[in-house]
Symmetry: C2
Subunit: 231 residues, 2 copies
Amino acid sequence: MKGMNLNHFIEQIPLFAGLIDTQIQLLLAIVEKRKYQRGKVIFTEGETATGLYVLYTGRVKIYKLSSEGKEQILHIFGPGEPFGEVAVFTGVQFPAYAEALEGSEALFFPRKRFVELITRDPSMAMNMLAMLSKRLRYFTQLVENLSLKEVPQRLAAYLLVLDNSKDKENTVELDIAKGQLASLLGTIPETLSRILNKMSIQGYIEVEGRQIRLIDRKSLESISMGEKLLM
Amino acid sequence: MKGMNLNHFIEQIPLFAGLIDTQIQLLLAIVEKRKYQRGKVIFTEGETATGLYVLYTGRVKIYKLSSEGKEQILHIFGPGEPFGEVAVFTGVQFPAYAEALEGSEALFFPRKRFVELITRDPSMAMNMLAMLSKRLRYFTQLVENLSLKEVPQRLAAYLLVLDNSKDKENTVELDIAKGQLASLLGTIPETLSRILNKMSIQGYIEVEGRQIRLIDRKSLESISMGEKLLM
């Protein structure tokens, strides 16, 4: 009965959601269920990442310690969420501490046996790559939808500020990389490109390499004040 | 010279950004550069996905055709962006059409040779899984940051509406799955959990399974009106 539950649970972990049944069975054969009492440290910063953890029950906090020993919490994870997986895939050390916030159980997939599975059955890796790609696609879309109201506003404000600080009016030169600008505006480069593209099509700006000419300052000002939405 | 550029370009494709130099060389050995004139169809819906495309120059639109032949654009991609990759990893048919919007070049990685590379060197798959996991982590955080202002507002409004439609006051029962509720509110289940958690810690609600008791209606109302932020 518990086995059935575990099977079902593993199928629903996003990373494994694209696997076929025989591949889930192979994972079930290598998984270890580990129990932690409240306050128990699961792994420490600098420890070699020997396996992938997925929280089964309870809650886990991921944190770093400052040089003065002060704790800085990075994440708190709940059931179904993987942790430390980037380090496991890369095969490096864990970059932070993990500690059980309450009585918790985690599924542990040993790295070595995981690599063996992929070696024997590369389609397993392909299915996992497919799932992660699919989720990334979904997230990209979600970030774009969430960004579309506020990012144009912040971008317009940024362009106007940049323009006012220059001698040559109405033409600004982007002085930072696009990735950095995207981060500054709270979005991703793909969305930033699409917003610049929309602003060009609407005739508010003209983009030529790193130079941006402000054609319709009035509209940019309205967008920057949140009075006008970019369509 | 052109080879150098291609090398550098491939390294910067997010999926390949975690690969070591010898692995990039193996990719360079299997990649084909394909040119498309404006209007050229790159692949059609239902066609078997025989390889992974990454746009090198130009722009590509991804679209579906309705039964009446009407075009519905799903995405427009620019240089550096992969397309059709989910289908390629799964090894199924492309779910949509791809067409060059202008003169474009794409890098094509044949699926068969790609699988051979992974089979010979599983660490390549691990590195790609690491990169995608890392990006997903980043995106999860970004979605959370972008959601934190508006999602609590929408959630509070949803809970109050649900409560008003019930006989038993101050207790609502979530009648849809958490994933669906997250979608409805424009976020992901992980962020929804964190927001519910915050609302509980602040004493606004009490969650017990699917039942949510509204403890502090006044605060929920202020949040739903956007007058109060969830801290």
